[in-house]
Symmetry: C2
Subunit: 471 residues, 2 copies
């Protein structure tokens, strides 16, 4: 049912829908009373009645006689209830994803996790696209082979060999995305109630994903060299996790790099406790020099590598990868057929293979690395003048993990910034143990607009009690 | 580790790997003894020793001292163990998928579930591809918005309206495929141990998918008008399923069409027992005239529609859809972000929207329907001469659900046909209750090569005991 008929009624309906999208209202929540919302919206109560009635007719809300209106849906106990905590909308790991993905072009996204479109290798992609109309019929309309494009798998196998890990293309599975790779692995390895270990802080979607699997999550504090080895040993002994999930190359969000000593200790401990390690290699192209890889030290006995092309080539193409021992790849391939009838589009893998072989690709990456280096330096300078300090200065990548001055609360600041059309990523969305309330992750590639610093400066100066939640 | 060094050793290794791919060997299975496999392969035992040692070094197999070699991997109790039964490789629902998806161009696939590439709208797709290099930067590299392309969602909303179901684009979620849509819904609605109801027979991947969710599956026999209403009522009362999963338009594999009376009874019973219905609309474009839709009668109170572009436009593009009540769409959208960071590629949805608006599309569909009609008639004639009879003559679509003569066993025949490079789909892969041992599903679009009938004829004449499993 469309919202066209009456503009005021439509505006009220749209406001309620926005509250649901921003998760200010979740299924089962009570809507504002008719009188109160009429005041808030500056319309007559009858307009709100009309709007609520139409939302009820759509099934979006339900009237409970004598009680008011409630958002529809008894949330099943699965997935969604665990995708993110309901405690506080701004620290919901989900909130940052949804806001960033839905943001219109007028919104600034220093909290998002990807590069602006114009930083990506657009020219190489357009060149690759021009070849597509000449692809054979099968590439245009057939399902992919179960493990995916042999050419792209061979490329990834060569990449592993260059890292010091000789694998065959049959140990590579192409997936619909890096996230989907993690999801498949989760379904393969984990049962509800199992324990997973992550870093504190860690990429927020690890949390949302593990919650969707009803996994109990414990965390180990990061140091500048990787997870704290002593606390890592303790976490393994105390909680007996089935899996440890981490980044290689450049840690998200801290930018830290695993040291050889920590890598070796982590692997030794994992072997002693029969823990599987999943190493998300998504930022490999951004490190200036190679750093230790758990997959390489381990030789794929108990470590699985996940990769993606979303951060260096295109997030639109939807292609990720898993490198693992052959028998696990076989099982994961079956699981991907059962749940998605295959992996990435043959068109997409064709495009990726072509773009990666493009003569300009290496040059583009080198230019990107330099550009990011300048962007990080410029952002750190501006942030420093506001009293915002990095936890460490990263060797590469987009993220700056910074502490706000004067014990300011990042979540409150992020909520307030929404009203200024700026989306920040407050620290606690990255922290299962909620230890990062005073931190923020900034994406240096989205810190070039002066408005980011204007809004940040103003909110850092505002008395904390004035930072009320956005409506 | 590559298989290049010694050709004979490589051949032995490849043969073992093929057994694993075809699931003749699963994790934990014992490999043939060295002596026996040397005889089978016509090589010296030392060659087999070398091959087994190298496979062990790859981690693919493990030696158990005093016992022999075993395929590596303790299969976790999840997913894979339930993706398909181990009883008999040919009735494993998975076997048909894997064989068909991996089949080289020399293999004939009368058992597969899609059209040959040259039947698909190649010209319109190439025209749409030519426009892509001119798309904006964002389409080429950005993540999709959470629900996906507004234009494509509006198109699907209009399609629903034409069916008699007025919905807004906000009630549509674009997914990575029709299968992934079903998978998301499964994760949203179902917990391990829940019961799901399907038709007998039903699309085999429904089984594989439900097993991956550890769902108990019960079935209701199909009639030519839809599920048997009396048995449907009984199944609901006896088993209390959470969900009923079925096709609309043209049933897979029988080709049957839901009658208005059965539709109404099914919906009434579902409401009385609080069962959610998932209606897979994937063959909508193939019906000559519209037939009842449970979503339309229900108005999205408890029915969810799943769609896909894989059968009429392209299986390469990877795009499916869910139409449902708004609060469920919201939750499914969140779940898709957590598990895949979004739905289909913006490039893919752009292509689809363009190709669907192509002036030639309606004409192509009409031509396709006529071509399929001729193909079904021709196939039925040839099959009739072999004593193979259809259960019913379908109004449209590709499938012919047929009984073999003389009580022949379809699974044995399908296994033997592999040796002749023909992939058939034996009836019991479609039947949870295993009632279809004498049936086969033929895809009329893959029945034009005379070799299909030669192989079928020969195997139907061969004494049953001679149909030994392919090695």
């Amino acid at each position: 049912m469309s919202d066209t008929a009456d503009t005021r009624t439509g505006a009220v309906m749209a406001a309620i829908r926005r509250k649901m999208t921003s998760r200010a209202l979740l299924p089962g929540d009570k809507l504002p009373s008719i009188r109160r919302f009429a005041e808030t919206m500056g319309v007559s109560p009858s307009t709100v009645v009309e709007a609520y009635d139409r939302l009820a007719a759509d099934g979006v809300i339900r009237a409970r006689p004598g009680s008011g209106f409630y958002v529809s849906g008894s949330l099943p106990p699965l997935a969604v209830a665990q995708v993110g905590p309901r405690l506080d909308r701004a620290i919901d790991p989900f909130w940052v994803s949804r806001q960033s993905l839905e943001a219109g072009p007028d919104m600034l996204k220093p909290g998002c996790g990807w590069l602006p479109a114009d930083w990506m290798p657009q020219a190489a992609i357009r060149r690759a696209l021009r070849r597509l109309p000449h692809a054979d019929d099968s590439t245009l309309t057939d399902y992919a082979s179960p493990q995916g494009s042999p050419a792209l798998r061979a490329l990834l196998a060569r990449q592993c060999a260059q890292d010091g890990l000789p694998v065959g293309p049959d140990q590579v599975l192409l997936t619909g995305s890096g996230t989907q790779a993690l999801d498949l692995i989760g379904r393969f390895l984990l049962r509800p109630g199992d324990v997973a270990l992550v870093d504190d802080p860690c990429y927020f979607n690890f949390q949302a994903l593990l919650r969707a699997h009803q996994i109990r999550i414990v965390s180990v504090p990061m140091t500048s060299d990787g997870p704290d080895p002593v606390l890592f040993a303790q976490a393994l002994a105390d909680h007996r996790p089935r899996v440890y999930l981490t980044n290689s190359a450049l840690h998200n969000p801290t930018g830290a790099t695993l040291s050889p000593q920590t890598a070796h200790r982590v692997l030794t401990l994992a072997a002693a406790h029969d823990v599987v390690i999943v190493e998300d290699d998504i930022f490999r192209d951004y490190e200036p020099t190679p750093s230790p890889r758990l997959t390489v030290l381990d030789g794929l006995e108990r470590v699985i590598r996940v990769g993606s092309f979303s951060k260096t080539l295109s997030a639109s193409f939807r292609c990720g990868s898993i490198v693992a021992r052959r028998d696990w790849i076989e099982a994961l391939t079956d699981l991907q057929i059962a749940t998605n009838f295959g992996g990435p589009s043959p068109l997409a893998t064709d495009l990726i293979a072509t773009a990666l072989s493009d003569g300009g690709h290496r040059k583009h990456l080198d230019g990107l690395i330099r550009r990011l280096s300048r962007a990080r330096r410029a952002a750190l300078d501006r942030l420093d003048s506001l009293g915002v300090q990095p936890w460490l200065a990263p060797r590469g990548g987009f993220y700056l993990w910074c502490r706000l001055p004067d014990g300011r609360d990042a979540a409150a600041l992020a909520r307030a910034a929404l009203r200024d059309s700026v989306i920040f990523a407050p620290g606690n969305v990255f922290s299962v143990a909620q230890t990062a309330g005073g931190f923020m992750r900034f994406n240096a590639a989205h810190m070039t607009d002066p408005r980011v610093y204007e809004v940040l400066a103003r909110l850092l100066r505002a008395p904390p009690e004035t930072l009320t939640p956005a409506d």
